[in-house]
């Protein structure tokens, strides 16, 4: 049992904030919505109502504060765990459940497992499962943005495990050479499924890897919304000023299972999890807000009720929608399907009409 996976505890002093109180409250709301959403999604999976789920529990501060520091024109390249980011970008719980169910309203037309959503109009690129592949893509998009003279950054979101991927290496290297306006936002949540961070790589920190590419790297306490916000805002400012990319390592902890297919008790101790539960970013921000007099237990109870209602209503609406139409899985392979695929679709439609295949 690898308790050593836990990064050093964050400094207890609160970071002086660059966030206005309204922002703090809004961030807090999204974090609570994310947590509530995750809990309900895990329950739905246990009830067999969705097929799979990977929660972001414990990573809300890092995700929400990061997204808060970005502009809507910035392009985000998420992994499958960026719930908080998606919510900041205006994604609704209903849209997410539509994707999980692959129903007729799902923008992906039922093509992907839960968590692998994407929304072009929000510059939130559709996620995939292979670890790390979004990293080079984010760099390429940044090169394109420079060519178009758009003052935007691209952000690659990935985990500690992804630092071992081919694309991490190539992406950071290209970014260093071409000085692209890219933020590499690594959420080191201590684990890559069952592999603890210190057996993923022998480097002292993940941020240390940046130097190998001539890129600045920074460790930030991922449970501190202020620290994350400031780090991302600064990295963004440098990037749009033409000063190049930054690797940020947000140290967080995956409080939940890797996904609903995972049983973390097989590989980590409850004791380790308990240590990190004390640092729960939601409790921490709530405490700060209450201490500062901006929030109360009563406000909190009311907000919790509100977000629970919002999530419940989203589920109700999503589940009421019809499934994706049967032949829709033939669409979107290529703009113009090749003859072989057209023939297959005709064959499929014949089998469907004859009742050999049943939707």
């Amino acid at each position: 049992m690898a308790d050593a996976a836990a990064p050093a505890p964050p400094t207890p002093e609160a970071t002086p904030s660059d966030l206005a109180v309204d922002d703090e409250l809004a961030i807090y709301r999204v974090m609570l919505l994310a947590r509530t959403f995750d809990e309900r999604a895990l329950a739905l999976q246990r009830q067999g109502r969705i097929g799979f789920y990977a929660p972001a529990v414990g990573q809300e501060a890092a995700q929400v504060a990061c997204a808060w520091a970005l502009e809507s024109g910035d392009w985000l390249f998420p992994s499958y765990r960026e719930l908080g980011v998606a919510l900041v970008r205006g994604t609704t719980p209903e849209e997410l459940f539509d994707q999980f169910l692959g129903n007729a309203a799902d923008r992906l037309h039922g093509r992907q497992m839960p968590n692998h959503y994407g929304f072009r109009d929000r510059n939130f690129v559709v996620a995939s499962s292979p670890i790390g592949t979004q990293v080079t893509q984010a760099v390429g998009a940044a090169m394109a943005a420079v060519r178009r003279k758009d003052r935007v950054v691209t952000v690659a979101f990935f985990g500690d495990g992804a630092t071992s991927s081919n694309d991490f290496h190539a992406g950071l290297n290209f970014a260093g050479v071409f000085r692209t306006p890219t933020i590499f936002f690594c959420q080191n949540n201590g684990w890559a499924i069952s592999l603890p961070r210190e057996r993923q790589t022998a480097s002292k920190t993940l941020a240390d890897k940046a130097a190998a590419y001539g890129v600045p790297g920074l460790v930030v306490d991922g449970n501190d919304v202020h620290a994350v916000f400031r780090a991302v805002r600064d990295a963004r400012a440098r990037a749009v000023a033409g000063e190049g990319p930054t690797l940020l390592e947000a140290q967080v902890y995956r409080l939940g299972p890797h996904s609903t297919s995972d049983d973390p008790r097989r590989y980590r101790s409850e004791g380790e999890v308990d240590v990190w539960r004390q640092r729960d970013p939601i409790g921490r921000l709530r405490h700060e807000l209450i201490e500062a007099g901006h929030w109360s237990e009563a406000d909190d109870a009311k907000l919790l009720e509100e977000v629970r209602g919002e999530v419940a209503e989203a589920i109700r609406r999503s589940e009421a929608k019809p499934p994706s139409p049967p032949a829709s899985f033939f669409d979107d392979v290529l703009a113009t399907p090749p003859p072989s695929l057209e023939a297959e679709r005709r064959e499929f439609e014949r089998l469907l009409a004859e009742g050999v295949v049943k939707p």
Binding site: L101, S128, I193, L351, V356, V357, K358
Partner: protein, 325 residues
């Protein structure tokens, strides 16, 4: 002797091979204390320790590259790739290195790496936990490609793979990891490569399938009896080496063939079977060679049951083929 599942048979073969030969070791992601995401390596970390059940960093390049180095040095590494869909970061090591070492060195460096990986659909895995790309590997000279469909084959063929002097890609049908069970006799040994198995004899149509397609193909072959068709089902078991003699013999008898796989049709393994028949059983063939396969799209999620060949689709193809010509 008790009933065993496919994943248990894999586990048992790994344990037996490791007990028998200290040069056998395992490497992969989450295979140690976690026992593998499908539990194929359950208990082996405890029994053999971290030196022989090696949890690696998240890099298929690293897994396959280091496995090759181990094999060159003389060990017998068995690498697990968590899902076949994630083999591609290691694809360069497979096609450029693993499959070419013996050849390019003039026989100086054989390279006996086994790569085990769960493949195929039917578990609601979507695009990235469902693919069957056996054709890429079957097209690559220098590697054997094995796909068991029963616990006994999973056990016996995996034992053979580990003893084999050459690279072997061992594809495990994850959809039937637990749903198909059967006996693996005590003391069962390696099962030789290159021998197809006649699952069911028949006289009218030959059906060729492998891996997770065997259960629906068998159901279809049962079903067509009601249509008055006698179907012969052949489980290919090893795609490379392919038991061409059995394939040809069956079609020489029946004159008709249906090929089944879940991978997309275009340039899939079924194309090679059809080509072999069009070349070498041409004068025996009495009907077009039918293919029942996944469609030429990426693997979908919500509608995967419509994408995957099932007994009904296979049955229809068998009947059509029996009646054609």
């Amino acid at each position: 002797m008790t009933e065993t599942t496919i994943v248990q048979a894999v586990n048992r073969a790994l344990r037996e091979a490791m007990q028998a030969d200290p040069d056998v070791l395992l490497l992969g992601e989450d295979i140690g204390v976690n026992g593998g995401v499908f539990r194929a390596t359950e208990g082996l970390f405890k029994e053999f320790g971290a030196d022989r059940v090696i949890d690696t960093p998240l890099s298929e390049t690293g897994i396959i590259g280091t496995a090759i180095g181990m094999a060159l040095y003389g060990l017998k590494p068995v690498a697990e790739i968590q899902f076949m869909d994630f083999i591609y970061p290691g694809f360069d090591q497979i096609v450029s290195e693993l499959t070419k070492f013996r050849y390019r060195s003039g026989g100086q460096y054989p390279c006996h790496v086994v790569i085990r990986t769960p493949y195929g659909g039917g578990i609601k895995g979507g695009l990235y936990h469902s693919q069957s790309t056996e054709a890429y590997f079957a097209h690559t000279p220098g590697i054997k490609v094995v796909v068991p469909s029963t616990p006994a084959d999973a056990h016996g063929l995996l034992l053979s793979a580990i003893q084999d002097p050459d690279p072997v890609l061992f594809l495990e049908p994850k959809r039937i990891y637990r749903s198909v069970s059967g006996e693996v006799p005590d003391g069962a040994g390696p099962e030789p490569f290159g021998h197809a198995r006649v699952v069911r004899e028949g006289t009218d149509v030959s059906v060729f399938a492998y891996g997770a397609m065997i259960p629906p193909a068998a159901e279809a072959c049962e079903g067509v009896a009601a249509d008055g068709v006698s179907a012969e089902l052949i489980d290919l078991r090893t795609l490379v080496p392919l038991d061409e003699a059995s394939v040809l013999a069956s079609v020489e008898k029946t004159g008709r063939a249906v090929v089944v796989h879940e991978a997309p049709r275009f340039c899939g393994f079924g194309a090679e079977l059809a080509a072999i028949l069009a070349e070498r059983a041409f004068f025996s063939l009495r009907a077009p060679v039918a293919r029942v396969t996944g469609y030429d799209t990426p693997f979908p999620y919500a509608l995967e049951q419509l994408y995957l060949p099932d007994a009904a689709r296979i049955r229809r193809a068998i009947v059509d083929t029996a009646r054609a010509g």
